[in-house]
């Protein structure tokens, strides 16, 4: 085949493929973009006029802002805790040879699938009750952190593995104590990894409904994910005006966070467990 034609064809094919992918990924988002501005929102993604009334209704709703704040507290708290604990653990696990380390990590990963499942709700509730952590946000944060930690360590360890040891050794030769090495060198270097894992953890918590709902009694402590489900009118009909607008507002912090992290650190993963 003529090389020019060939290049042209592959170009065109590439663009068509890219367009299809864009459509595939963008189509479901249409509703989120259009509905909040539609006067009488329904399941349909249509724009029958533009209005900001829905936002006004949202502003007037007493649950909205506290719930977003609670979401920030829960998700932010969990993300910070997850990142902090996982970074420490990942560093140690990456640098010290422990027999069976990878198996242990994987076993924990598997166990985490149990506590994130619905069946564990009862043991979790009873345990937190005994610990006096029911209806306290810190309890929710701890439970969520526990569930996310194994995967976070798993992912962060790959980042630490990719940091040359000479950085640490160099600092040690200059007399840095181990925690100084960690603070001055290792943590800053794996910051992109921590940011990425942090966003990941935050997203997981941000959308979590069951755990905060069950473990928090007071509605004023409930996060947005729980409140999202309360926007039904008296007849049990979803109130799309509120839901769509709230969905948009509710998504904004996560998207913003992603944008910030992406700009500052680049959103990236390391990968490749040591087979």
């Amino acid at each position: 085949m003529n090389p020019v034609v060939r290049t042209l064809l592959s170009r065109v094919g590439g663009y068509v493929g890219a367009c299809l992918l864009v459509v595939f990924f963008a189509l479901p988002l249409l509703w989120l973009v259009l509905t909040p501005f539609t006067p009488n929102p329904t399941y349909r993604a249509s724009l029958s006029g533009v209005t900001l009334d829905n936002f006004r209704a949202l502003v007037d709703n007493p649950q909205v802002w506290p719930s977003i704040r609670n979401s920030l507290v829960l998700a932010g708290g969990s993300a910070l805790l997850v990142v902090a604990l996982a970074a420490l653990a990942a560093y140690a696990l990456s640098r010290v040879r422990v027999p069976g380390r990878d198996q242990l990590l994987y076993a924990l990963l598997l166990l985490s699938s149990i506590v994130t499942g619905t069946a564990a709700m009862v043991p979790l509730f009873l345990m937190l009750f005994q610990l006096g952590l029911i209806d306290r946000q810190v309890g929710v944060v701890l439970v969520l952190t526990g569930g996310l930690l194994p995967a976070a360590v798993f992912m962060l360890k790959d980042f630490v593995d990719s940091v040359p040891r000479s950085y640490e050794e160099s600092a040690r030769v200059f007399g840095a104590k181990p925690n100084q090495v960690l603070r001055h060198v290792v943590l800053p270097v794996i910051r992109p990894g921590m940011a990425t894992v942090g966003v990941w953890a935050l997203v997981q918590v941000w959308g979590n409904f069951l755990v905060p709902y069950v473990l928090l009694a007071n509605p004023s402590k409930q996060p947005a994910a729980v409140v999202m489900y309360t926007f039904y009118d008296a007849g049990g009909q979803p109130d799309f005006a509120l839901i769509s607008t709230f969905a948009l507002v509710y998504s904004v912090p996560v998207v913003l966070l992603y944008l910030v992290v992406n700009r500052r650190y680049g959103f990236a993963f390391q990968g490749g467990i040591k087979g």
């Binding site: 000479s166 001055h184 270097v189």
Partner: protein, 366 residues
């Protein structure tokens, strides 16, 4: 500044490999000492044991008056420059240089002051606010040096600091590093696998093989009288001519050619197998005045331009189906022969060294 003394040092890795396997070494105060050897011989391990990054399995390390064997790296008062420089990517040049001072809790203002002081003589003054990723290889190397200098250590440890530089830069950096060390007068241990680097820069050098030191001496001593075949093979810009043969009738028979026995070796018995060695630089074209029994003659099989000189490989002997031998000579550029031409070479008998033809390959002293 300080002396460095290693006694019976052994460093064994957890997997059982002995990276350093019984080393005794004394390095003088202010000396520029090179550790040379092929890849995997244990140079880095030795350096790291000195720095305290690896624990010594046996033996002792003394720096100055202190026995530091059991001390942490940070307590040994040494500074190390790693092969990959290990500059912290998230710190500016200035912060990198001042890092050791930060550890020593020097106040920020003074830190910056001293960073500037170390940076200036290395022409880094204008780069202080950049990050390592924005520097060229040569600049990175200088930052690593400045960082090592900034903490005024008693000993510098350099692990192949030049090997990441390109050929030209490497030459310049050599001179520069040497002058710097001279000026600072800090005892320096320098690891390299490049013999030219070791020769050019060091006051004294050690050649290592398999965790052991094979020879210690000034570059001159090591270059002129390599103590073993291994060292002989390793040292020199062009590989040394090393040909196995047997003593026969006061001469040495190299298979196809025979060369005179150097003076002082009459003690060698007839038929004894030795390795005849001479550097290509000490092989010249045979002028008319050269006695015929000191000439080896053959066909030029390769010519390499070395600049002002050429390295000529001559296939000697090998008639009657016998395997011949190759003799290399470095000749002035004007004498460059054609490949295929016949050439008469004259190895300077006074420069010839003999080695035992056994595993150790020790130098046969006259």
């Amino acid at each position: 500044m300080a002396t460095v003394e290693l006694t019976d040092l052994v460093t064994q890795y957890p997997n059982g490999v002995r990276g350093v396997d019984g080393v005794d070494l004394a390095i003088a105060d202010g000396e520029f000492f090179a550790l040379l050897g092929p890849s995997g011989c244990g140079k880095t391990t030795l350096l790291r044991t000195l720095a305290g990054l690896e624990g010594a399995t046996e033996g002792r390390v003394r720096i100055g008056e202190r026995d530091v064997t059991a001390l942490e790296p940070g307590e040994r008062d040494v500074a190390m420059v790693f092969q990959d420089y290990a500059l912290f990517p998230h710190m500016t040049v200035s912060e990198n240089i001042a890092y050791p001072l930060r550890i020593q809790k020097v106040a920020r203002g003074e830190r910056e002051e001293r960073a500037r002081e170390s940076a200036d003589p290395l022409s880094l003054g204008a780069l202080l606010e950049r990050r390592p990723a924005q520097l060229s290889g040569g600049q990175q190397q200088r930052v690593a040096l400045a960082r090592a200098i900034a903490c005024h250590p008693q000993v510098f440890l350099f692990d192949e600091p030049l090997s990441n530089l390109d050929a030209r830069l490497r030459l310049e950096a050599r001179t520069f590093l040497k002058q710097l060390q001279r000026r600072l007068g800090v005892t320096t241990v320098f690891v390299t696998h490049d013999q030219a680097e070791a020769l050019a820069m060091s006051d004294r050098m050690a050649v290592m093989e398999a965790g052991r030191i094979r020879q210690v001496g000034t570059p001159r001593e090591v270059f002129q009288r390599p103590a073993s075949l291994f060292v002989a093979n390793f040292i020199g810009a062009t590989p040394m001519n090393l040909l196995e043969g047997a003593v026969r009738g006061g001469r040495i028979d190299l298979g196809g050619v025979s060369v005179p026995l150097p003076a002082g070796h009459s003690g060698l018995g007839d038929g004894e197998r030795v390795v005849w060695g001479v550097r290509p630089e000490y092989v010249a074209t045979a002028g008319d005045g050269v006695p015929a029994d000191e000439v080896v003659e053959g066909e030029v099989s390769a010519v390499e331009n070395l600049g002002v000189t050429v390295l000529v490989t001559v296939a000697v002997g090998g008639r009657d189906g016998e395997e011949g031998v190759e003799v290399r000579a470095v000749l002035p550029e004007d004498d460059e022969p054609e490949v295929g031409a016949r050439l008469r070479l004259h190895p300077q008998t006074a420069r010839v060294l003999l080695y035992r033809a056994d595993d150790d390959g020790a130098l046969v002293e006259p």
